[in-house]
């Protein structure tokens, strides 16, 4: 199986420490952190840092951000609710951690690369990423997912997964396949998609399907989007899903 390989940690650890004036360092770091935040975190925690409690906690004014090591580990390894982001480099984790501790009304100190590196020392997280186009699910799994989809999702997201409910009294919803879906979700991992769906869907009763059912629905979404089937099922394990990128058709 052909895999996209991103050599992440090797590059990150080789980065030469920045030697510019502290003020300037801070601005560069925070700008980089803001971009990473918008690309990876704002989907749930919002650009404004207000989150969407109780589903997605606010970061603005959240006392837990005082514990830098906890934040760093949560980003790289995930939590019960939050997906891991193993593809972020040490430098990127430093930037985004520093950003959320400084943004909005927050006033905590920056977290530098050394601190992140020492917190993550001994981490066995793999940095090998695959793409959803690399046969990551089976046809049988997609079929199972279709059955779950029709019961739990189809009424709102439509028979064609294009966000057009059949019941005309119902409002349109986000498409779950094809170009529009890829535009919103491209560059994110399947762990992020899984966590987001589990936390928010079905809207009337989030987190009411099993992990297997959520994963099967994702397999079905990918199959409708034209991604090829393979011999191995999409796993339910968040760590494994975190290593699979959603990408436009190569």
């Amino acid at each position: 199986m052909l895999k996209l390989v991103f050599s992440v940690f090797g590059v990150a650890l080789a980065v030469t420490p920045v030697t510019a004036a502290p003020q300037e360092t801070n601005a560069v770091l925070l700008n980089q952190g803001e971009q990473i935040y918008q690309d990876n975190c704002a989907l749930c925690h919002q650009v404004s840092g207000t989150g969407s409690p109780p589903t997605f906690p606010a970061l603005n004014g959240n006392a837990l951000l005082g514990n830098a090591a906890r934040i760093v580990r949560s980003i790289q390894q995930g939590t019960d609710q939050m997906p891991p982001f193993p593809y972020l480099t040490i430098e990127e984790i430093s930037a985004v951690t520093s950003y959320i501790r400084k943004a909005w009304q927050n006033t905590w100190d920056d977290v530098d690369i050394e601190e992140v590196a020492s917190t993550l020392e001994g981490s066995t997280a793999s940095d090998q990423m695959t793409s959803v186009w690399d046969t990551v699910f089976t046809e049988e799994q997609a079929n199972r997912g279709q059955a779950v989809y029709q019961g739990a999702c189809g009424l709102c997201h439509g028979r064609r997964l294009n966000g057009a409910p059949d019941d005309p009294d119902m409002s349109s919803t986000p498409p779950l396949a094809r170009a529009r879906f890829l535009r919103i979700w491209g560059g994110r991992s399947l762990a992020t998609l899984f966590s987001y769906i589990r936390a928010t869907m079905p809207e009337s009763n989030p987190n009411s399907l099993t992990e297997q059912e959520y994963t099967d629905v994702i397999a079905y979404m990918l199959s409708v989007g034209g991604m090829p089937t393979g011999n191995e099922e999409l796993p339910t394990d968040l760590q494994q899903l975190a290593h699979m990128f959603i990408q436009p058709r190569p």
Partner: protein, 689 residues
């Protein structure tokens, strides 16, 4: 025909005495001719009982066999009345039949209580746990009444619809919700778990449940089963004569193999009504009320004319799915005497452009229909109750409330069909009236094309066109139970300007679509049809299937190798395209320039979504429809559903319900069923004359 006490059910009488031929209303005339004949007739004086010879006589006559009429019919029959339902269509159910069957009742109704206790239904068909928390289901009549009369609830247009509600109607509705739910259950209607609330009310409690049947070897309403073929789920591109709209999967709210939509509701009620001996006269349009004197005395009957619905291909008369209880009467205009009462349940005015102009003159444009125009035909929602009521002196109510709910009139995301509110697949006999199911692109699909008016000019940001305002909301509430119990009814803060401004977030693209343009001609200055224009690359991006049964050569879909040829085909091939699309080519050139420059100076499309060049043939056009679905505003009634005149006096013997009446801003079936239940109750209690 069944006989009961001294009452005779549907007596044909005086057949030899009557030879009434109604001018212009002969079978087979087109919709325009029929409407015209009605206008002529409206100029005559109202009919009185003294110059009327009766053809039929029955205790209760009901105009319309939809959700209000069918409910009223069963209720009146249960209470001992003989009942005849007159319907202009060939089958029962009205728009209840094509609905999603989301019946929002409440007030502590039996389904709320069942789910609150975590119980299954009596037959044990429901195997899933309740969807809503018990707290969300803890409802009462007083809470529901407060919801429906809360002056402080605003909607995203910054309006406050409930302040206009007739309080007596809101009280009656709230008080009768629990009994109506039980009544429906007693007549074979099976309800799913409550999930959310559908339209209207302050939304403080979950009260919406859908109706279901279980897939099985045969269609048997008593057993609660339906075949996959009848349910329209055996083949993704085929439905049945039983189900105009394919049924939905109801696994999540019932059990595996459960299916739901209006078919489960309407056919169950119909089965019960026929079993109980209600009688039906189809293909017959309700025209006039007969009062003792034109403006005084009791309403004693109706006039109705024969208007058969013929199969669009074979020309044969369409026939109802079941026929027990049908009265086959084909004479032209007949008079039907009601010994006790007439109930008007013949729907609203959404399908009558002339009457619509009372509310929004730009919607006099006949290019835009109401929902279900294939299923119901030209007379669906044609304001017959409102017109007949006015002729005997009835008052109207709630005339501004059409503006206050998102499904009143809106741009549909189902393109390429005139009947754009619902999807209908081949297999139902009325499919031939629309000829295409349409392509439902959802709101997201509007990013993929440019939308142009009748002269081929863009008029609004496409992305913002299909957005409908949400329902009425309290501050901080997303508008559904489970998403905010913290709201406070009747709190002035709900109406303070800061919140109203926050709520006022609605794009008025619909009004741009209806605006005057270069093709608008005196005296009506119609805005004309709307079109989605795109190319082959859009088809490849989206996977839209531009083939039978989704599109056809019915004048609502065109394809050509050049834009000029496309414009020519559209101008020739669409029934409401009155002028050439003379700007289309130039619009496309301009658009492609905007795409190349990355900016759309006219409508700032780049801010909302990516812009795509439209340059790869073949080029396509799909119709975009404005659909006027709900009717708010109609006959004024009191809490017993008795029609009230301009002096505030009840018109004796006349009841109305559902979309024929105004004064209660409440979307959906929940209103109609309660109206029918209340009207049926009181109509059957009227003295016999």
């Amino acid at each position: 025909m069944a006989k009961k006490d001294n009452k005779t059910s549907v007596d044909p009488k005086g057949l030899s005495r009557r030879d009434f031929v109604r001018t212009g209303a002969a079978a087979g005339l087109g919709a325009g001719a029929l409407l015209e004949s009605e206008q002529l007739q409206a100029q005559e004086s109202a009919t009185s009982a003294t110059d009327t010879a009766w053809d039929y006589e029955v205790d209760v006559v009901i105009a319309g066999g939809g959700c209000a009429g069918l409910t009223a019919a069963i209720r009146a029959k249960d209470l001992g009345a003989s009942v005849l339902v007159v319907d202009q269509n060939f089958d029962l159910g009205g728009r209840m039949l094509h609905s999603g069957a989301f019946v929002s009742l409440g007030g502590g109704d039996p389904v709320q209580r069942r789910d609150m206790k975590g119980e299954s239904d009596k037959e044990g068909l429901i195997t899933v746990d309740p969807v809503e928390d018990p707290e969300e289901l803890d409802d009462s009549v007083d809470l529901l009444f407060t919801d429906m009369t809360d002056w402080s609830v605003v909607d995203p247009k910054g309006q406050n619809p409930y302040r206009y509600n007739e309080r007596e109607l809101a009280r009656s509705w709230a008080e009768n919700c629990p009994a109506t739910r039980q009544f429906l259950i007693d007549n074979y209607v099976r309800f799913t778990r409550v999930s959310g609330t559908h339209g209207g009310g302050g939304l403080s409690r979950a009260r919406g449940a859908r109706c279901f049947l279980m897939l099985g070897d045969k269609t048997d309403i008593k057993a609660g089963t339906i075949t996959a073929e009848d349910a329209g789920v055996a083949d993704p591109e085929r439905t049945s004569a039983f189900a105009p709209v394919q049924m939905n999967n109801a696994t999540r709210t019932v059990a595996p193999n459960a299916v739901s939509n209006g078919v489960a509701l309407s056919r169950s009620l119909e089965f019960s009504a026929r079993e109980k001996g209600v009688e039906f006269m189809f293909h017959r349009h309700f025209d006039e009320l007969v009062r003792e004197e034109p403006f005084t005395g009791r309403v004693v009957g109706i006039k109705a004319h024969y208007a058969p619905r013929l199969h669009p291909e074979t020309g044969e008369r369409l026939e109802s799915f079941w026929d027990n209880g049908n009265v086959d009467e084909r004479r032209d205009t007949i008079n039907i005497r009601a010994r006790q009462a007439v109930i008007l349940a013949s729907g609203g005015h959404a399908g009558n452009p002339q009457v619509r102009s009372m509310f929004y003159p730009a919607m006099r444009e006949p290019a835009f229909p109401t929902s279900g125009n294939a299923l119901q035909g030209a007379h669906g929602q044609d304001a017959s109750a409102l017109i007949a009521g006015l002729r005997v002196g009835a008052n109207l109510a709630g005339m501004q409330q059409n503006i206050s709910y998102p499904t009143t009139f809106h741009i549909s995301t189902r393109l390429g069909t005139r009947d754009a509110y619902t999807t209908m697949m081949p297999g139902h006999p009325t499919f031939g009236f629309r000829k295409s199911a349409g392509v439902n692109v959802g709101n997201a699909g509007f990013e993929e094309f440019i939308a142009v008016n009748q002269v081929g000019k863009r008029f609004f940001s496409e992305v913002r066109l299909p957005t409908r305002p949400g329902g009425s909301r309290y501050p901080g509430d997303r508008g559904a139970p489970g998403q905010g119990l913290s709201h406070k009814p009747l709190d002035w803060r709900n109406c303070r300007k800061e919140w109203v401004r926050e709520m006022y977030n609605y794009d008025h693209g619909l009004d741009a679509a209806l605006a005057l343009n270069e093709g608008s001609k005196a005296p009506d200055y119609y805005s004309g049809p709307l079109w989605a224009i795109f190319d082959q690359e859009a088809v490849e991006r989206t996977g839209w299937e531009l083939r039978h049964p989704y599109v056809s050569d019915n004048g609502y879909f065109f394809q050509a190798d050049t834009i000029e040829e496309l414009a020519e085909k559209m101008a020739k091939g669409h029934e409401f395209q009155r002028v050439p699309l003379s700007h289309l080519a130039e619009t496309l050139t301009k658009w492609n320039g905007y795409v190349d420059a990355g900016a759309d100076p006219e409508f700032e499309r780049e801010a909302d979504a990516p812009m795509y060049r439209i340059a790869t043939p073949p080029f396509y056009a799909l119709s975009i429809m404005v659909i006027w679905h709900d009717s708010y505003g109609g006959l004024r009634v009191n809490g017993q559903q008795q029609v009230v005149d301009m002096q505030g006096q009840v018109i004796p013997g006349l009841y109305a319900g559902g979309e024929a009446v105004g004064g209660l801003n409440k979307h959906g079936l929940g209103k109609g069923h309660v109206h029918g239940y209340v009207a049926g109750t009181h109509a059957a209690g009227e003295p016999t004359s």
